[in-house]
Protein backbone atom coordinates (compact mmCIF):
# COMPACT_ATOMS: atom_id res chain seq x y z
CA UNK A 1 0.00 0.00 0.00
CA UNK A 2 1.51 3.29 -1.06
CA UNK A 3 1.95 5.90 1.65
CA UNK A 4 0.04 9.16 1.38
CA UNK A 5 2.74 11.63 0.42
CA UNK A 6 2.53 15.37 -0.22
CA UNK A 7 4.31 16.09 -3.46
CA UNK A 8 6.80 18.97 -3.61
CA UNK A 9 5.94 19.31 -7.28
CA UNK A 10 3.14 21.27 -8.85
CA UNK A 11 1.51 18.26 -10.48
CA UNK A 12 -1.02 20.11 -12.58
CA UNK A 13 -0.84 18.83 -16.13
CA UNK A 14 -0.55 21.68 -18.56
CA UNK A 15 -1.83 21.38 -22.09
CA UNK A 16 0.95 21.39 -24.66
CA UNK A 17 1.10 24.54 -26.73
CA UNK A 18 1.17 23.61 -30.40
CA UNK A 19 3.86 25.16 -32.55
CA UNK A 20 2.68 27.85 -34.91
CA UNK A 21 2.57 26.69 -38.53
CA UNK A 22 5.88 27.24 -40.32
CA UNK A 23 5.84 29.28 -43.52
CA UNK A 24 6.93 27.47 -46.66
CA UNK A 25 9.28 30.33 -47.45
CA UNK A 26 10.68 33.28 -45.51
CA UNK A 27 10.56 35.60 -48.54
CA UNK A 28 8.13 38.43 -47.97
CA UNK A 29 7.83 37.71 -44.26
CA UNK A 30 8.42 40.21 -41.46
CA UNK A 31 10.85 39.01 -38.80
CA UNK A 32 11.29 40.35 -35.28
CA UNK A 33 14.79 39.90 -33.88
CA UNK A 34 14.91 39.73 -30.09
CA UNK A 35 18.11 40.89 -28.42
CA UNK A 36 18.05 39.40 -24.92
CA UNK A 37 21.01 41.62 -23.90
CA UNK A 38 23.45 38.80 -23.54
CA UNK A 39 27.03 39.78 -24.25
CA UNK A 40 27.62 40.09 -28.03
CA UNK A 41 24.14 38.89 -28.87
CA UNK A 42 23.61 42.04 -30.93
CA UNK A 43 26.56 41.11 -33.16
CA UNK A 44 24.99 37.74 -33.85
CA UNK A 45 21.66 39.36 -34.63
CA UNK A 46 23.37 41.85 -36.98
CA UNK A 47 24.56 38.97 -39.12
CA UNK A 48 21.25 37.13 -38.99
CA UNK A 49 19.47 40.35 -39.92
CA UNK A 50 21.74 40.84 -42.91
CA UNK A 51 21.04 37.31 -44.14
CA UNK A 52 17.32 37.67 -43.61
CA UNK A 53 17.19 40.91 -45.59
CA UNK A 54 19.14 39.29 -48.41
CA UNK A 55 16.46 36.58 -48.38
CA UNK A 56 13.69 39.15 -48.83
CA UNK A 57 12.61 39.46 -45.21
CA UNK A 58 11.81 42.78 -43.58
CA UNK A 59 13.08 43.04 -40.01
CA UNK A 60 12.56 44.84 -36.72
CA UNK A 61 14.68 44.71 -33.55
CA UNK A 62 13.37 44.54 -29.99
CA UNK A 63 15.27 44.20 -26.73
CA UNK A 64 14.59 42.52 -23.42
CA UNK A 65 15.08 44.36 -20.12
CA UNK A 66 17.80 41.89 -19.06
CA UNK A 67 18.82 38.47 -20.32
CA UNK A 68 18.26 36.74 -16.98
CA UNK A 69 14.53 37.43 -16.71
CA UNK A 70 11.64 36.27 -18.88
CA UNK A 71 10.52 38.79 -21.46
CA UNK A 72 7.74 41.10 -20.31
CA UNK A 73 4.29 40.10 -21.49
CA UNK A 74 3.96 43.39 -23.33
CA UNK A 75 7.11 42.65 -25.30
CA UNK A 76 5.91 39.13 -26.13
CA UNK A 77 2.64 40.62 -27.35
CA UNK A 78 4.51 43.16 -29.42
CA UNK A 79 6.52 40.38 -31.05
CA UNK A 80 3.46 38.21 -31.64
CA UNK A 81 1.53 41.02 -33.27
CA UNK A 82 4.40 42.54 -35.17
CA UNK A 83 6.03 39.66 -36.97
CA UNK A 84 5.52 36.43 -38.83
CA UNK A 85 8.93 35.16 -37.73
CA UNK A 86 10.99 35.64 -34.59
CA UNK A 87 14.68 35.10 -34.00
CA UNK A 88 16.01 35.08 -30.42
CA UNK A 89 19.73 35.41 -29.90
CA UNK A 90 21.68 33.64 -27.21
CA UNK A 91 25.33 34.55 -26.97
CA UNK A 92 28.47 34.89 -24.85
Amino acid sequence: MAADYVSPFDERVRAAEPLAPRPASVRGQHAVLLDIRKNRGAEFLDRVETLLREAGVSTARVTKEIFSKPAALGLIGEIALGGGLVVEALAD
Binding site: V6, F9, I66
Partner: protein, 517 residues
Amino acid sequence: MEPARKADSTGGRGGRLVPELTVRGTGPAAVTIAGLTAGGGALLVFVSEHCPTSALALRRLGPLCQDWAQAGLTAVAIFEDPLEVAIRTARRLGWSGQVAADDPPYPASRAYRVAAVPTAVLVGGDGVLAGTVTGWDQPGLAALLGEAGQLLGAGLAVPPATEPLRKPGCSAKAAIDPELAAAMSGPGGGDEPEEMFERGWTDGLPVIPPTAERVEAMLGGRDGAEPLGLVPPAMGEATLERVAACAVLAGCRPAYFPVVAAAARAVLDPAFNLHGQAVTTQPAGQLVVVNGPVREAIGLNSGMGALGPGFRANLTIGRAVRLLVSLTGGAMPGAMDRATLGQMGKLGFCVAEDEEGSPWEPLHVERGFEAGQSVVTVIGSDAPLSISDHRSRTPEDLAYVLAWAAASAWSTNWWPLAEPSVFVICPEHAQMFRAAGWSKQRLRQAMFDEVRRPARLLRRGETSLTVQAADPDELVPKWASPEAIVLLVAGGEAGRYSAVLGPCTGMGSQIVSREVT
Protein backbone atom coordinates in the same frame (compact mmCIF):
# COMPACT_ATOMS: atom_id res chain seq x y z
CA MET B 1 -7.16 -10.92 -15.23
CA GLU B 2 -10.62 -10.27 -16.59
CA PRO B 3 -11.00 -9.58 -20.29
CA ALA B 4 -12.16 -6.12 -21.25
CA ARG B 5 -15.32 -7.41 -22.85
CA LYS B 6 -17.26 -10.59 -22.76
CA ALA B 7 -16.52 -13.09 -25.50
CA ASP B 8 -19.74 -12.34 -27.36
CA SER B 9 -18.93 -8.66 -27.81
CA THR B 10 -16.10 -8.97 -30.29
CA GLY B 11 -18.14 -7.47 -33.04
CA GLY B 12 -17.71 -10.55 -35.11
CA ARG B 13 -14.06 -9.87 -35.92
CA GLY B 14 -13.04 -12.89 -33.93
CA GLY B 15 -9.88 -11.33 -32.51
CA ARG B 16 -8.41 -11.68 -29.06
CA LEU B 17 -9.92 -9.45 -26.40
CA VAL B 18 -7.36 -7.42 -24.53
CA PRO B 19 -7.22 -7.70 -20.72
CA GLU B 20 -8.88 -5.04 -18.60
CA LEU B 21 -6.53 -2.38 -17.24
CA THR B 22 -5.66 -1.98 -13.57
CA VAL B 23 -3.79 1.31 -13.65
CA ARG B 24 -4.02 4.67 -11.92
CA GLY B 25 -4.99 7.62 -14.09
CA THR B 26 -4.76 11.34 -13.45
CA GLY B 27 -8.50 11.82 -12.88
CA PRO B 28 -11.00 10.38 -10.44
CA ALA B 29 -12.55 8.02 -13.00
CA ALA B 30 -11.11 4.53 -13.47
CA VAL B 31 -9.06 3.97 -16.61
CA THR B 32 -10.85 1.22 -18.50
CA ILE B 33 -10.60 -0.28 -21.96
CA ALA B 34 -14.24 0.62 -22.53
CA GLY B 35 -13.59 4.23 -21.65
CA LEU B 36 -10.44 4.48 -23.73
CA THR B 37 -12.01 2.91 -26.81
CA ALA B 38 -15.28 4.82 -26.59
CA GLY B 39 -14.23 7.00 -29.51
CA GLY B 40 -13.44 4.02 -31.71
CA GLY B 41 -10.02 2.81 -30.60
CA ALA B 42 -7.12 3.19 -28.19
CA LEU B 43 -3.36 3.14 -28.40
CA LEU B 44 -1.77 1.91 -25.17
CA VAL B 45 1.91 2.86 -24.99
CA PHE B 46 3.72 1.04 -22.18
CA VAL B 47 6.78 3.03 -21.12
CA SER B 48 9.21 3.54 -18.28
CA GLU B 49 10.78 6.77 -17.08
CA HIS B 50 14.29 5.31 -16.97
CA CYS B 51 14.22 4.03 -20.58
CA PRO B 52 15.71 6.30 -23.29
CA THR B 53 13.74 4.50 -26.00
CA SER B 54 10.54 5.20 -24.10
CA ALA B 55 11.54 8.85 -23.99
CA LEU B 56 12.12 8.81 -27.74
CA ALA B 57 8.71 7.27 -28.36
CA LEU B 58 6.93 9.75 -26.09
CA ARG B 59 8.72 12.65 -27.71
CA ARG B 60 7.90 11.51 -31.26
CA LEU B 61 4.34 10.34 -30.66
CA GLY B 62 3.33 12.96 -28.07
CA PRO B 63 2.57 15.80 -30.48
CA LEU B 64 0.24 13.55 -32.53
CA CYS B 65 -2.09 12.50 -29.71
CA GLN B 66 -4.48 15.44 -30.04
CA ASP B 67 -4.97 14.80 -33.76
CA TRP B 68 -5.60 11.13 -33.08
CA ALA B 69 -8.14 12.02 -30.39
CA GLN B 70 -10.12 14.07 -32.87
CA ALA B 71 -10.30 11.01 -35.13
CA GLY B 72 -11.46 8.82 -32.24
CA LEU B 73 -8.18 7.20 -31.19
CA THR B 74 -7.31 7.75 -27.52
CA ALA B 75 -3.63 7.44 -26.67
CA VAL B 76 -2.52 6.62 -23.14
CA ALA B 77 1.04 6.31 -21.88
CA ILE B 78 1.15 3.62 -19.19
CA PHE B 79 4.22 4.11 -17.03
CA GLU B 80 5.89 1.48 -14.88
CA ASP B 81 6.55 4.34 -12.49
CA PRO B 82 4.73 6.21 -9.73
CA LEU B 83 2.01 8.46 -11.09
CA GLU B 84 3.84 11.62 -10.05
CA VAL B 85 6.90 10.57 -12.02
CA ALA B 86 4.70 9.60 -14.95
CA ILE B 87 3.00 12.98 -15.07
CA ARG B 88 6.22 14.89 -14.80
CA THR B 89 7.99 12.78 -17.41
CA ALA B 90 5.09 13.03 -19.83
CA ARG B 91 5.00 16.78 -19.45
CA ARG B 92 8.73 17.10 -19.93
CA LEU B 93 8.66 15.04 -23.11
CA GLY B 94 5.65 16.76 -24.66
CA TRP B 95 3.27 13.81 -24.43
CA SER B 96 -0.22 15.23 -25.03
CA GLY B 97 -2.21 12.04 -24.53
CA GLN B 98 -3.49 10.52 -21.31
CA VAL B 99 -1.14 9.33 -18.58
CA ALA B 100 -1.50 6.34 -16.26
CA ALA B 101 0.68 4.48 -13.78
CA ASP B 102 1.03 0.72 -13.48
CA ASP B 103 2.12 0.19 -9.87
CA PRO B 104 4.23 -2.78 -8.76
CA PRO B 105 3.98 -5.63 -9.40
CA TYR B 106 2.83 -4.12 -12.71
CA PRO B 107 -0.38 -6.07 -13.30
CA ALA B 108 -1.19 -4.27 -16.54
CA SER B 109 2.23 -4.82 -18.10
CA ARG B 110 2.14 -8.43 -17.00
CA ALA B 111 -1.38 -8.98 -18.34
CA TYR B 112 -0.34 -7.54 -21.69
CA ARG B 113 2.88 -9.61 -21.60
CA VAL B 114 5.02 -6.53 -22.04
CA ALA B 115 8.63 -7.75 -22.09
CA ALA B 116 10.18 -4.48 -23.20
CA VAL B 117 9.28 -0.81 -23.16
CA PRO B 118 8.12 0.99 -25.13
CA THR B 119 5.41 -1.34 -26.37
CA ALA B 120 2.49 0.11 -28.33
CA VAL B 121 -0.76 -1.84 -28.29
CA LEU B 122 -3.62 -0.93 -30.63
CA VAL B 123 -7.08 -1.80 -29.37
CA GLY B 124 -10.20 -1.56 -31.52
CA GLY B 125 -13.48 -0.10 -30.36
CA ASP B 126 -14.67 -3.62 -29.68
CA GLY B 127 -11.87 -4.27 -27.21
CA VAL B 128 -10.04 -6.54 -29.62
CA LEU B 129 -6.30 -6.51 -29.98
CA ALA B 130 -5.48 -4.99 -33.36
CA GLY B 131 -1.69 -4.96 -33.27
CA THR B 132 1.46 -4.51 -31.23
CA VAL B 133 4.79 -2.80 -31.85
CA THR B 134 7.73 -3.23 -29.48
CA GLY B 135 10.63 -0.82 -29.13
CA TRP B 136 10.91 2.27 -31.30
CA ASP B 137 9.96 1.17 -34.81
CA GLN B 138 8.79 4.07 -36.94
CA PRO B 139 7.75 1.95 -39.95
CA GLY B 140 6.00 -0.50 -37.64
CA LEU B 141 4.17 2.29 -35.86
CA ALA B 142 3.20 3.90 -39.15
CA ALA B 143 1.67 0.58 -40.22
CA LEU B 144 -0.08 0.23 -36.86
CA LEU B 145 -1.53 3.72 -37.20
CA GLY B 146 -2.60 2.81 -40.75
CA GLU B 147 -4.50 -0.09 -39.24
CA ALA B 148 -6.02 2.26 -36.67
CA GLY B 149 -7.05 4.61 -39.47
CA GLN B 150 -8.86 1.77 -41.21
CA LEU B 151 -10.71 0.87 -38.01
CA LEU B 152 -11.76 4.50 -37.53
CA GLY B 153 -12.34 5.36 -41.15
CA ALA B 154 -9.96 8.30 -40.94
CA GLY B 155 -6.38 9.09 -41.85
CA LEU B 156 -4.11 9.34 -38.81
CA ALA B 157 -0.91 11.29 -38.49
CA VAL B 158 2.21 9.13 -38.24
CA PRO B 159 5.56 10.03 -36.63
CA PRO B 160 8.03 11.52 -39.11
CA ALA B 161 10.46 9.11 -40.75
CA THR B 162 13.52 10.70 -39.17
CA GLU B 163 16.50 8.92 -37.64
CA PRO B 164 16.54 6.79 -35.67
CA LEU B 165 13.86 4.80 -37.44
CA ARG B 166 14.39 1.89 -35.08
CA LYS B 167 15.79 1.62 -31.56
CA PRO B 168 15.57 -1.39 -29.23
CA GLY B 169 13.56 -0.94 -26.07
CA CYS B 170 14.50 -1.59 -22.45
CA SER B 171 13.52 -4.52 -20.26
CA ALA B 172 10.13 -3.95 -18.74
CA LYS B 173 10.05 -3.96 -14.97
CA ALA B 174 7.17 -6.39 -15.30
CA ALA B 175 9.53 -8.83 -16.96
CA ILE B 176 11.78 -8.89 -13.90
CA ASP B 177 11.11 -11.23 -11.03
CA PRO B 178 8.06 -9.72 -9.27
CA GLU B 179 9.61 -9.72 -5.82
CA LEU B 180 12.73 -8.03 -7.09
CA ALA B 181 10.70 -5.55 -9.08
CA ALA B 182 8.56 -4.71 -6.08
CA ALA B 183 11.64 -4.22 -3.92
CA MET B 184 13.16 -1.93 -6.56
CA SER B 185 10.08 0.16 -7.02
CA GLY B 186 8.65 2.35 -4.35
CA PRO B 187 5.04 1.88 -3.40
CA GLY B 188 4.65 -1.41 -1.63
CA GLY B 189 8.36 -2.01 -1.74
CA GLY B 190 8.80 -0.92 1.85
CA ASP B 191 11.94 1.08 1.16
CA GLU B 192 10.84 4.68 1.48
CA PRO B 193 14.24 6.35 0.99
CA GLU B 194 14.70 4.48 -2.27
CA GLU B 195 11.18 5.38 -3.30
CA MET B 196 12.01 9.05 -2.82
CA PHE B 197 14.96 8.64 -5.17
CA GLU B 198 12.76 6.90 -7.72
CA ARG B 199 10.21 9.68 -7.55
CA GLY B 200 12.93 12.24 -8.05
CA TRP B 201 12.06 13.96 -4.75
CA THR B 202 15.67 14.52 -3.80
CA ASP B 203 18.76 16.65 -4.34
CA GLY B 204 20.86 13.52 -4.58
CA LEU B 205 20.98 12.84 -0.85
CA PRO B 206 18.48 10.75 1.12
CA VAL B 207 15.41 12.67 2.23
CA ILE B 208 12.65 12.29 4.81
CA PRO B 209 9.49 11.10 2.99
CA PRO B 210 6.88 13.88 3.15
CA THR B 211 3.94 11.92 4.49
CA ALA B 212 0.71 13.80 5.01
CA GLU B 213 1.22 13.53 8.77
CA ARG B 214 4.72 15.00 8.67
CA VAL B 215 3.69 17.83 6.38
CA GLU B 216 0.73 18.64 8.61
CA ALA B 217 3.03 18.74 11.62
CA MET B 218 5.43 20.99 9.69
CA LEU B 219 2.59 23.38 8.84
CA GLY B 220 1.69 23.62 12.53
CA GLY B 221 -1.88 24.69 11.87
CA ARG B 222 -1.05 27.14 9.08
CA ASP B 223 -3.21 27.11 5.96
CA GLY B 224 -1.40 24.82 3.54
CA ALA B 225 -3.35 26.21 0.61
CA GLU B 226 -1.88 29.68 1.06
CA PRO B 227 -0.12 30.61 -2.18
CA LEU B 228 3.37 32.11 -1.92
CA GLY B 229 3.90 32.55 -5.64
CA LEU B 230 5.26 30.70 -8.64
CA VAL B 231 8.72 29.16 -8.43
CA PRO B 232 10.79 29.65 -11.54
CA PRO B 233 11.85 28.35 -13.93
CA ALA B 234 9.03 25.77 -14.21
CA MET B 235 6.61 28.13 -12.45
CA GLY B 236 5.34 25.49 -10.07
CA GLU B 237 3.05 27.04 -7.50
CA ALA B 238 4.58 27.28 -4.04
CA THR B 239 1.68 26.68 -1.73
CA LEU B 240 2.61 26.72 1.93
CA GLU B 241 1.91 22.97 1.97
CA ARG B 242 4.40 22.40 -0.84
CA VAL B 243 7.01 24.47 1.00
CA ALA B 244 6.31 22.33 4.06
CA ALA B 245 6.81 19.19 1.96
CA CYS B 246 10.23 20.53 0.95
CA ALA B 247 11.02 21.26 4.60
CA VAL B 248 10.11 17.69 5.54
CA LEU B 249 12.19 16.30 2.70
CA ALA B 250 15.13 18.44 3.85
CA GLY B 251 14.92 17.11 7.40
CA CYS B 252 13.65 20.26 9.10
CA ARG B 253 11.98 20.23 12.48
CA PRO B 254 8.57 21.96 12.55
CA ALA B 255 10.15 24.67 14.69
CA TYR B 256 12.29 25.68 11.71
CA PHE B 257 9.34 26.15 9.38
CA PRO B 258 8.72 29.87 10.04
CA VAL B 259 12.29 30.51 8.89
CA VAL B 260 11.86 28.29 5.82
CA ALA B 261 8.59 30.01 4.91
CA ALA B 262 10.16 33.46 5.30
CA ALA B 263 13.10 32.40 3.13
CA ALA B 264 10.68 31.03 0.52
CA ARG B 265 8.83 34.35 0.43
CA ALA B 266 12.15 36.16 0.11
CA VAL B 267 13.51 34.12 -2.82
CA LEU B 268 10.18 34.46 -4.62
CA ASP B 269 10.32 38.26 -4.48
CA PRO B 270 10.80 39.36 -8.11
CA ALA B 271 13.62 41.67 -6.99
CA PHE B 272 15.67 38.59 -6.10
CA ASN B 273 15.38 37.30 -9.68
CA LEU B 274 15.36 33.65 -8.74
CA HIS B 275 14.61 32.83 -12.36
CA GLY B 276 18.03 33.97 -13.50
CA GLN B 277 19.82 32.39 -10.56
CA ALA B 278 18.05 29.05 -10.97
CA VAL B 279 18.97 28.45 -14.59
CA THR B 280 22.31 30.21 -14.95
CA THR B 281 25.56 28.52 -15.93
CA GLN B 282 27.10 30.39 -12.98
CA PRO B 283 27.68 28.42 -9.78
CA ALA B 284 25.63 30.77 -7.60
CA GLY B 285 23.29 29.45 -4.95
CA GLN B 286 20.88 31.16 -2.61
CA LEU B 287 22.58 32.16 0.65
CA VAL B 288 20.12 32.40 3.55
CA VAL B 289 21.22 34.68 6.41
CA VAL B 290 19.24 34.55 9.65
CA ASN B 291 19.20 37.31 12.25
CA GLY B 292 17.30 37.89 15.46
CA PRO B 293 15.99 35.85 18.39
CA VAL B 294 14.89 32.91 16.23
CA ARG B 295 18.54 31.85 15.88
CA GLU B 296 18.75 30.92 19.54
CA ALA B 297 15.21 29.56 19.65
CA ILE B 298 15.78 26.91 16.99
CA GLY B 299 19.45 26.16 17.54
CA LEU B 300 21.06 27.83 14.55
CA ASN B 301 24.83 27.83 14.83
CA SER B 302 26.62 31.13 14.41
CA GLY B 303 29.76 30.03 16.22
CA MET B 304 32.42 27.43 15.57
CA GLY B 305 32.05 25.98 12.06
CA ALA B 306 29.35 28.49 11.15
CA LEU B 307 29.72 27.83 7.42
CA GLY B 308 30.21 24.08 7.75
CA PRO B 309 28.44 20.88 8.77
CA GLY B 310 27.19 19.67 12.11
CA PHE B 311 24.06 21.67 12.82
CA ARG B 312 20.69 20.46 11.74
CA ALA B 313 18.94 23.82 11.65
CA ASN B 314 21.56 25.46 9.42
CA LEU B 315 21.82 22.53 7.04
CA THR B 316 18.16 21.68 6.67
CA ILE B 317 16.79 25.22 6.37
CA GLY B 318 19.14 26.00 3.51
CA ARG B 319 18.38 22.64 1.96
CA ALA B 320 14.62 23.18 2.14
CA VAL B 321 14.98 26.40 0.17
CA ARG B 322 17.08 24.66 -2.47
CA LEU B 323 14.62 21.76 -2.71
CA LEU B 324 11.85 24.28 -3.32
CA VAL B 325 13.88 25.74 -6.18
CA SER B 326 14.95 22.44 -7.71
CA LEU B 327 11.74 20.41 -7.22
CA THR B 328 8.79 22.82 -7.15
CA GLY B 329 10.69 25.19 -9.41
CA GLY B 330 12.06 22.43 -11.62
CA ALA B 331 15.66 23.67 -11.49
CA MET B 332 17.35 20.29 -11.21
CA PRO B 333 21.03 20.29 -12.14
CA GLY B 334 21.50 19.04 -15.66
CA ALA B 335 17.90 19.80 -16.53
CA MET B 336 16.78 23.42 -16.20
CA ASP B 337 19.62 24.23 -13.79
CA ARG B 338 22.40 24.72 -16.32
CA ALA B 339 25.26 25.43 -13.88
CA THR B 340 28.55 24.49 -15.50
CA LEU B 341 30.12 23.32 -12.25
CA GLY B 342 27.74 24.29 -9.50
CA GLN B 343 29.03 24.31 -5.93
CA MET B 344 28.23 22.54 -2.70
CA GLY B 345 26.42 25.60 -1.37
CA LYS B 346 23.68 24.74 -3.84
CA LEU B 347 22.72 21.87 -1.58
CA GLY B 348 21.71 24.61 0.81
CA PHE B 349 23.52 27.41 2.60
CA CYS B 350 22.12 28.95 5.75
CA VAL B 351 24.24 31.21 7.96
CA ALA B 352 23.26 32.73 11.29
CA GLU B 353 25.01 35.93 12.26
CA ASP B 354 26.83 36.09 15.61
CA GLU B 355 25.15 39.31 16.65
CA GLU B 356 26.28 38.98 20.25
CA GLY B 357 29.94 38.67 19.23
CA SER B 358 29.78 41.39 16.61
CA PRO B 359 31.05 44.91 17.22
CA TRP B 360 28.51 46.21 14.74
CA GLU B 361 24.80 46.42 14.08
CA PRO B 362 23.63 43.13 12.55
CA LEU B 363 22.61 42.75 8.94
CA HIS B 364 18.85 42.98 9.55
CA VAL B 365 19.22 46.21 11.49
CA GLU B 366 21.29 47.66 8.64
CA ARG B 367 18.38 46.74 6.40
CA GLY B 368 15.82 48.61 8.47
CA PHE B 369 14.49 46.04 10.92
CA GLU B 370 14.45 46.26 14.71
CA ALA B 371 17.12 44.31 16.56
CA GLY B 372 14.42 42.24 18.28
CA GLN B 373 12.85 41.10 15.02
CA SER B 374 13.77 37.76 13.49
CA VAL B 375 14.62 38.22 9.83
CA VAL B 376 15.75 36.11 6.90
CA THR B 377 17.89 37.73 4.20
CA VAL B 378 18.62 35.98 0.90
CA ILE B 379 21.60 36.76 -1.32
CA GLY B 380 22.66 35.18 -4.61
CA SER B 381 26.17 33.97 -3.74
CA ASP B 382 29.09 31.94 -4.94
CA ALA B 383 31.00 29.43 -2.79
CA PRO B 384 33.05 30.76 0.14
CA LEU B 385 36.76 31.44 -0.18
CA SER B 386 38.64 31.25 3.12
CA ILE B 387 40.87 34.23 4.02
CA SER B 388 43.64 33.50 6.50
CA ASP B 389 45.21 36.42 8.34
CA HIS B 390 47.16 35.69 11.51
CA ARG B 391 49.74 38.45 11.07
CA SER B 392 48.01 41.80 10.61
CA ARG B 393 48.52 44.12 13.58
CA THR B 394 46.46 47.08 12.40
CA PRO B 395 42.88 47.32 11.15
CA GLU B 396 44.20 48.94 7.99
CA ASP B 397 46.34 45.88 7.18
CA LEU B 398 43.53 43.48 7.99
CA ALA B 399 41.08 45.44 5.81
CA TYR B 400 43.69 45.28 3.02
CA VAL B 401 44.04 41.49 3.30
CA LEU B 402 40.32 40.86 3.46
CA ALA B 403 39.51 43.14 0.55
CA TRP B 404 42.26 41.94 -1.79
CA ALA B 405 41.30 38.33 -1.17
CA ALA B 406 38.12 39.17 -3.03
CA ALA B 407 39.90 40.82 -5.95
CA SER B 408 39.47 37.67 -8.04
CA ALA B 409 35.82 37.19 -7.11
CA TRP B 410 33.75 36.39 -10.20
CA SER B 411 36.77 36.82 -12.52
CA THR B 412 40.29 38.15 -12.13
CA ASN B 413 39.93 41.26 -14.26
CA TRP B 414 36.18 41.82 -14.14
CA TRP B 415 35.96 45.10 -12.27
CA PRO B 416 33.82 46.66 -10.88
CA LEU B 417 31.22 44.27 -9.43
CA ALA B 418 27.80 45.81 -8.87
CA GLU B 419 26.43 42.77 -7.03
CA PRO B 420 27.22 42.03 -3.39
CA SER B 421 30.29 40.19 -2.15
CA VAL B 422 29.53 38.76 1.28
CA PHE B 423 32.35 38.82 3.84
CA VAL B 424 31.94 36.61 6.89
CA ILE B 425 34.25 38.14 9.46
CA CYS B 426 35.47 35.77 12.18
CA PRO B 427 35.34 36.95 15.82
CA GLU B 428 39.11 37.42 16.18
CA HIS B 429 39.19 39.62 13.10
CA ALA B 430 36.08 41.45 14.30
CA GLN B 431 37.80 42.04 17.64
CA MET B 432 40.63 43.91 15.92
CA PHE B 433 38.15 46.32 14.36
CA ARG B 434 36.27 46.63 17.65
CA ALA B 435 39.46 47.50 19.54
CA ALA B 436 40.33 50.17 16.98
CA GLY B 437 36.83 51.61 17.13
CA TRP B 438 36.09 50.97 13.47
CA SER B 439 32.46 51.12 12.47
CA LYS B 440 31.04 48.78 9.87
CA GLN B 441 30.82 51.66 7.42
CA ARG B 442 34.46 52.59 8.02
CA LEU B 443 35.62 49.05 7.28
CA ARG B 444 33.40 48.85 4.22
CA GLN B 445 34.75 52.15 2.91
CA ALA B 446 38.36 51.13 3.63
CA MET B 447 37.92 47.89 1.70
CA PHE B 448 36.24 49.71 -1.16
CA ASP B 449 39.01 52.33 -1.32
CA GLU B 450 41.77 49.72 -1.09
CA VAL B 451 41.02 47.47 -4.06
CA ARG B 452 41.48 49.44 -7.26
CA ARG B 453 43.88 49.05 -10.14
CA PRO B 454 44.82 51.01 -13.27
CA ALA B 455 42.63 49.93 -16.17
CA ARG B 456 45.68 49.00 -18.25
CA LEU B 457 46.58 46.25 -15.75
CA LEU B 458 43.10 44.78 -16.02
CA ARG B 459 43.03 44.54 -19.81
CA ARG B 460 43.83 40.89 -20.16
CA GLY B 461 41.47 38.03 -20.75
CA GLU B 462 37.92 38.63 -19.61
CA THR B 463 37.47 42.30 -18.82
CA SER B 464 34.43 44.48 -18.29
CA LEU B 465 33.15 47.23 -20.55
CA THR B 466 34.11 49.70 -17.81
CA VAL B 467 37.72 48.54 -17.94
CA GLN B 468 37.75 48.64 -21.72
CA ALA B 469 36.36 52.19 -21.81
CA ALA B 470 38.57 53.65 -19.07
CA ASP B 471 41.77 55.63 -19.64
CA PRO B 472 44.77 53.30 -19.22
CA ASP B 473 45.85 54.86 -15.91
CA GLU B 474 42.37 55.36 -14.54
CA LEU B 475 41.91 53.50 -11.25
CA VAL B 476 39.02 51.07 -11.48
CA PRO B 477 37.57 49.80 -8.17
CA LYS B 478 36.69 46.15 -7.57
CA TRP B 479 33.21 47.09 -6.43
CA ALA B 480 30.82 49.59 -7.95
CA SER B 481 30.11 51.04 -4.50
CA PRO B 482 30.86 50.35 -0.83
CA GLU B 483 27.31 49.00 -0.55
CA ALA B 484 28.37 46.03 -2.69
CA ILE B 485 30.39 44.86 0.34
CA VAL B 486 28.20 42.96 2.81
CA LEU B 487 29.70 42.30 6.23
CA LEU B 488 28.56 39.55 8.62
CA VAL B 489 30.17 38.25 11.79
CA ALA B 490 30.19 34.51 12.50
CA GLY B 491 32.54 31.71 13.46
CA GLY B 492 34.48 30.21 16.35
CA GLU B 493 36.22 32.37 18.92
CA ALA B 494 39.64 30.93 18.10
CA GLY B 495 41.24 31.20 14.69
CA ARG B 496 41.80 34.00 12.25
CA TYR B 497 39.93 32.77 9.21
CA SER B 498 37.29 34.94 7.62
CA ALA B 499 35.68 34.19 4.26
CA VAL B 500 34.25 35.91 1.22
CA LEU B 501 31.43 34.69 -0.97
CA GLY B 502 31.55 36.12 -4.46
CA PRO B 503 28.44 37.41 -6.15
CA CYS B 504 25.90 36.11 -8.59
CA THR B 505 26.68 38.52 -11.40
CA GLY B 506 24.72 40.09 -14.21
CA MET B 507 21.31 38.90 -13.02
CA GLY B 508 20.04 42.16 -11.61
CA SER B 509 19.43 40.25 -8.37
CA GLN B 510 18.88 42.31 -5.26
CA ILE B 511 19.23 41.32 -1.62
CA VAL B 512 15.81 40.60 -0.13
CA SER B 513 14.81 40.37 3.56
CA ARG B 514 11.62 39.02 5.13
CA GLU B 515 10.57 38.97 8.74
CA VAL B 516 10.06 35.54 10.31
CA THR B 517 6.45 35.41 11.45
